[in-house]
Each structure stands twice: as structure tokens, then as C-alpha cells.
Amino acid sequence: MVANIGYYALVITFLVSIYGAGAAAYGALKRKPEFVESGRYAMLLTWPLLTVASAAIIWLLATGHYEIGFVASVTSNSMPTYLKVTALWGGQEGSLVFWAWLMAAFTSAASLRKWDRDRELLPWFIMVTMITLAFFISLTVFFENPFARLWLSADGQQVAAMLQPTGAVPLNPPDGRGLNPLLRHPGMIIHPPALYLGFVAYVIPYAFAMAALITRRSDDRWIRITRRWTLVAWIFLSLGLILGGRWAYDVLGWGGYWGWDPVEIAALLPWLAGTAFLHSVMVQEKKGMLKHWNVVLIILTYALVIFGTFLSRSGVLSSVHAFAKSAIGPMFFIFIGVTFLVSLSLLINRWEMLKGENFLNSMFSREALFLLNNFLFMGILAVSFWGVIFPLLSELITGQKITVGPPFYERANGPLGLGLLILMAIAPLSAYASSSWKTIGRALWKPALVSLLVPITLYFGEIRNPIALMGYTVAALVAFVTLYEFWRGANARNRRHGENFPLALWRLVGRNRRRYGGYVIHLGVVLMAFGIIGIEVYQTETQATLSRGEQVTLGSYVMTYDDLSIFDTNDGRNVARAVVSVYKDGKLVDELYPRKDYYFDSQQAVTIPGTRSTLEDDFYVILVGLDPDSRSHATFKVYHNPLVNLIWIGGVVFIIGTVVAVWVNSDRRRWSKASPASAITQA
């Protein structure tokens, strides 16, 4: 019953969104506003309809309707209710509905804005978003139906279908297989929605850009209307990536946070294009340049959002040697191909309309440095994209599958990342239109001199790895330049308005939130760079099988194995929990409990590390093997991860910076104000 309501809600949403797209476009072409209005109502209807569908799934999940295939595959009796609810995005079918639900919410919210000046954009905005929505819903209606029921067919096969296949009998399993234990983690509860929110929100700037092209609007209204949307999308995408890293570190038990897995890259690609867009859009706002490029970037971001969803949904990547083909793979492929080609040909058709208003004339002007920044982001994007598709390409062309792994990404992206860091140190000191090497040098030499102290200090502190020295020096330079910018701005206010320093700093940031929010983001990146270099260059590990009371040494740490207990929990786990003591420089500093949880329902074990976490380093212990009978010895893998916490702290700073930037200034003056940078660099 509930399943039927949910399914028909999906079917109706599909029809309504197609109608909405058609009616809006027809109304615009035939100049019949009543059709546009009708399309808009159709659009506003999608969110309530999808809410019904989502509520139906959640109800089925929470009440244990295991006769529904999706419910049986992601929940079980032993799971707590909150996990049953969040299992909505724990599997393919439910997560597609969730995706569509978020998108309907965002597009409805965007369509409720005042459209006075932009009436003519509305129908095309409706058309683009409703086509995208219809595509995603069609996947759930025709291929990955979360409401399909389980049947036992005449020849004894288990099948999931909406209608009873001939000769089949209904199947009513008493319990489900349960959510993958790796996903039963708080990080996994917020990580996918954060990513989805980011993905979905990028549809809106894309839809506005397309609407602007279709209606031949040559101004950059679409950029201004959607500036907050792009930042909101970016916050969630960044948050999703950071949370994903944290989840991997806490749950996957390999001592790392990022493994260049294709699924991770799938989420990184739109982030890279979106980050490039955030930077280059400023050039268009200030100088009226890069107009074509910004449209290309937003098309690319949108296509990569769809591509990322495709990669993680279709199984195309793992399928080459692993999963069976999923029916939705070709569908995605066609959709991406068609939207990408249509968008690009539309752009080419309107090319003349988007002529730049200014020219690049100085290598060190801010616009030139922003352009360089874009090149580097595109470089990292190209590298990462290449790594993902290279195995597929090589198989297609040579018939031989050749893969690349993390060393490829690190080797190729490392220099580009360093280049971005260097730019982060230089660009804030540049001015629009006319900076020269001299003006930048004049502003740069003081922070550069101070940052030289970093490698010297490190060198005498026995840190002599050239990559680490170079990375830390540049990161420190970025930090000094950025802090110097804050100091300089606040100091100027202090002198001009007699404000005390904290007030001056507060007002400085408040007056230009995007600029100083951006600088806070840069500081977050510096912290993360410190952490990443720390763990990548200086991570050490060892492994040992210890009898009770025995010890293993790693660097300045000694760990002894004290005890092991094995017990069942009432939520369907068998837990093996070791007790180890950690000594640093001979002193007892902590007791850790690395453990292994075996989940009965899914017959799978999860290894949860025991971690002693300080600002300086993490001592990370994994219980990897044990002797269940005697419990006399156990095997541990031990990691020493220097500075890893700076990654998470940097992540928090990063998000705070983005929130500052997204908080729109109360006054509109910033559009007409000249860049304060020019005043400062000439000071």
C-alpha cells in the first residue's frame, strides 16, 4: 500500500516535471505567460510529491518492510531507528530519490525569488531544472525502483519487481541484510547528504547560465543571482569531501584519509571545476572579462556533477573487473553527452554576445593570476580525470587494461598543488589591471623573509626532506601574506577611523566578506597543507603480534598489549576489544581500545582504530588479528601520523571562511567600489 503510494508519487513527479519543462518552454516561445506560470506551478509541485515518495521509503525502512527489496538490502531488525531512516541514502535506489528530493527543494526555493528584472529567465530555468529532475526520477521509476517488491519466481530465483511476475510467489523475509557496517557511522550519516546538497545546488547556477544564453542576456546577471548558490553548493561539496576523509580515517582502518579511489575522485572533479569558477567569476564581475570561460566552467561543473553521480552509481568503474553492468550506466552516458553538447553549442552560437570588456595587459595583474589559478585547477582536474578514464581508454584502444594508482595522482598533482599554494601567496598582493613584478615584490619581500625562517628552523630540527621543506616554506609564506593582509587592512582602519584593533578587524571583514572570507579559506588550506605534508612525508607504521604484556616500539612511542575481551552487544554485534597502554618517552600517556566489530546480519567485520590524538600527532592502533580461544596474543598495526589533526582543524577553518564569504554584505556598494587591493599595493 505505502509502497504503491510512494511509487505512484514518483511516477506522477516524473510526468509533472516533464510537463513543467514543456509548458515553460512552450509558454516562452509562444509568448503565453499562462503556460510559463503553469510550468512554474508544476515545478513547485515536485517537492511535495517527492516528499511523499521519500516519506514512504522512510516509513517502509523504519517499520521493517523487508518484502521491499531495497528495505531488505539496507536495513535489519538489529539496527537502531535513526540508522534505518538514514539508510535512505545507504543504497542506490533510495539515494537517487533523496537526490531528486533535495534538487526539487532547491529549485523550488530558487523559483520563489523575486523575478521582476529577470522574468524572461524563468521559463528556461524551469525547463533546465525540470529536465534534470525528470532524468533522475526516470532512473528510479524505470531502473532502480526503491519500492520494488521481492518475489520468488517459478524457477526459484529471487526477483524484485513492482508487479507480480507470472508464477511467482511473494517473498516475506523476516529480517533484512542490514546496512553495510562501514556505513553505520555518524560521518557516513552526514557525508552523503552534504555531497548531494553540493551536487544538487550546482544545477541552479547552470540553469541560470543556460537561461541567460537562451534569452541572449549578455550581462552577468546570472552570475550575480547565483553567486550565493555557487557558494552554498561549494560549502556542501567541501564539507562532504572533508567528512568523507574523516570517515575513511576513522572507519576504514588503513591509517589514511584519501586513497584516490575513483569514487572519491568523482566528488573531487566538480569541486575542482567549481573552485576554478569561484575565482574566475570575480574577474568577470570586476573587469567584464572571461565571460565565455565562466560559462564553460559552469557547464563543466554541472556535467561533472552528473558524471560524479554516474561514476558512483553506475558501477562502470568497478565493473570492468568487478560489478555487473547496471542498467543506468548507458542512460547517464547519454544524458551527460547530450546536455554537454547542447550547452556547448548554445555557447558557441552566442559567442559574439559575450565579448570581453577588457584585455589582459599585465602578467602580474590580479586577473592574469586568477587565470593562472584556473589553469592549475584545470590541470589537477585533467590529471584526476585522466587517472579515472585511463584504464577504460587503454582497454578500449589496446584491449589491455592498464591502471594508475595513488602514486600517479601524487606525482602529477603534487607540483600543480604547490603551484596553487605559491599563487595563494602572490595573488592577494596583486591589483587588477596593473601590477608588476616590482609592486608585488615590494609587498612580498617582508613576509617572504619571515617565511625563510621556517625551512632554516626545520632544517636544524632534523626535518630535511626537500618536499617537506619546500611545502612548509610556501605554506608558511601564504600564512604570513594572508595574516599580513588582515593586519594591514585593520591597521589602516585603525588609523583612519580610530577604531581599536579587534573592531577594525571585525569591520574590515564585514565590509568585504567575500574577500576576507576567501582569505580565511586560504588559511584553512595552509593548515591542511601542513597536515597533509606531515602525514604524507612522515607517517611511520609497524605491525606486530604481541603476547599479553609484550610491547612494540614506534618512534618515541611504546605500546603494550594488556588485555582482550570478546562479547556480544544487544545491537547484533560481536565485539573483540583490546586494551593497550601507550607510553611516550617512557611515561604512560594513554590507554586505547582498538576493536573489531563483527555484524551478524551482514556477516562482516569492521575494524575500529584506537587513536591517541594530539595537535602534534596521532598514535593510531588497529587490532588486526586475534586468537579468540586463548586471547593470549593479538596482532596490531600501529601508525604514527604527525600533524594529521591540522587537516581536520584546517577543514573547520575552511568551512568557517566559506560561511563568512557566503554571508552577503548588507550594502550593495561593493559592486561599484574599486578594488581596495590597488590602494594597498600602491601604499
Binding site: 579511489d261 555487473a324 591502471t403 603480534t545
Partner: protein, 168 residues
């Protein structure tokens, strides 16, 4: 980029700069691919290639025979045998999905098998009929020495979950 006007005197240096950056990126991609690429083979393909693979690291995919798993806890030495699974997607489809294909591959006692040795932690997912992807090289002793061991269980591993990776 596209905004560079035809009449701009400085156009040349920007075009040159852009060209140099693109060239550098292409070089980075090409040289890194060259330096780090690995063959990804089935067991049949590995035996067919033989010496041709040389001493380069290769990635081999196969299905784990549960009875063969031996783990020396003291020395952290893991030994197991994997059986050949066809890489051809259509064959896997024909068999009725990957889980079935893995099952069939193990039933086939005539098929090629590979003994694998891995020093390190025994992964939770290593079990009968799991798909193993091992990276390493063939030893003189006819045993494949893996530095990295990746496991997938087709029924459990869906969607968003990154693969469990150990070692490497």
C-alpha cells in the same frame, strides 16, 4: 584566454605563457602515467604474458579459494590461492552477475590458479568467493608476492563504499 583581443600588443606573451602551462600539464600527465602505470590482468592473461611482463608490478584479479587461506599470525604471512575470473563483462553477465561468476570460477577445477603471498594484516573481507585484486610481482618460486591486497564482496559492496585497501 578567449578574451585576448586581436589588436593587443601583449597577446603573444600570454599565448606563449598559456601554451607553456598546458604543455607542462600534458608532460606531467604523460610522464606520471609512464612511470606509474600497471598492467591489470586476469590470471589467464598473466600466464599467457609470462616473461613479457618483466619485473614491473602488475595488478591481478581473481577469486579467493576459502580452503586455501593460511595465516601465520606470528610472522604476519598470509597465503591463499585465487582462481581465474574472466574479465569479459558479457561472460560475467551470462553467468548471472559477478557473485555467480565468482562461484563458477571456483567450481572449475581445470582453470588456472595463482598462489599469493602477502606479508601483513589479514583483511576482514578475505573469505571464500571474495574477489581479490593483488598488486605485486611473480617470484621465481612461482608464488605471486603481493604488496597490496584489495578485496571486494559483490553482494555487500555497493555504491558509495570505497574499497577496503590494505598495505601498499
Amino acid at each position: 584566454m578567449t578574451e585576448v583581443p586581436k589588436a593587443n600588443a601583449g597577446r603573444g606573451k600570454f599565448l606563449l605563457g598559456g601554451f607553456l602551462i598546458v604543455a607542462a600539464i600534458v608532460y606531467l600527465i604523460a610522464s606520471s602515467t609512464q612511470a606509474t602505470a600497471q598492467y591489470y590482468l586476469t590470471i589467464d592473461e598473466l600466464f599467457a604474458k609470462g616473461e613479457a611482463v618483466g619485473d614491473r608490478d602488475v595488478k591481478i584479479s581473481g577469486v579467493v579459494d576459502g580452503d586455501s587461506i593460511q595465516y601465520d599470525v606470528k610472522n604476519l604471512t598470509l597465503r591463499f590461492t585465487i582462481a581465474n575470473v574472466p574479465a569479459d563483462l558479457d561472460k560475467i553477465e551470462e553467468a548471472g552477475g559477478l557473485a555467480e561468476a565468482l562461484h563458477i570460477a571456483l567450481e572449475d577445477t581445470q582453470g588456472k590458479r595463482l598462489d599469493v603471498e602477502y606479508i601483513g594484516v589479514m583483511p576482514d573481507l578475505l573469505r571464500h568467493e571474495a574477489q581479490a585484486i593483488v598488486t605485486g610481482r611473480m617470484g621465481e618460486d612461482g608464488i605471486f608476492h603481493a604488496d597490496e591486497l584489495l578485496l571486494k564482496c559483490p553482494t555487500r559492496y555497493e555504491d558509495e563504499v570505497p574499497l577496503q585497501a590494505v598495505g601498499g
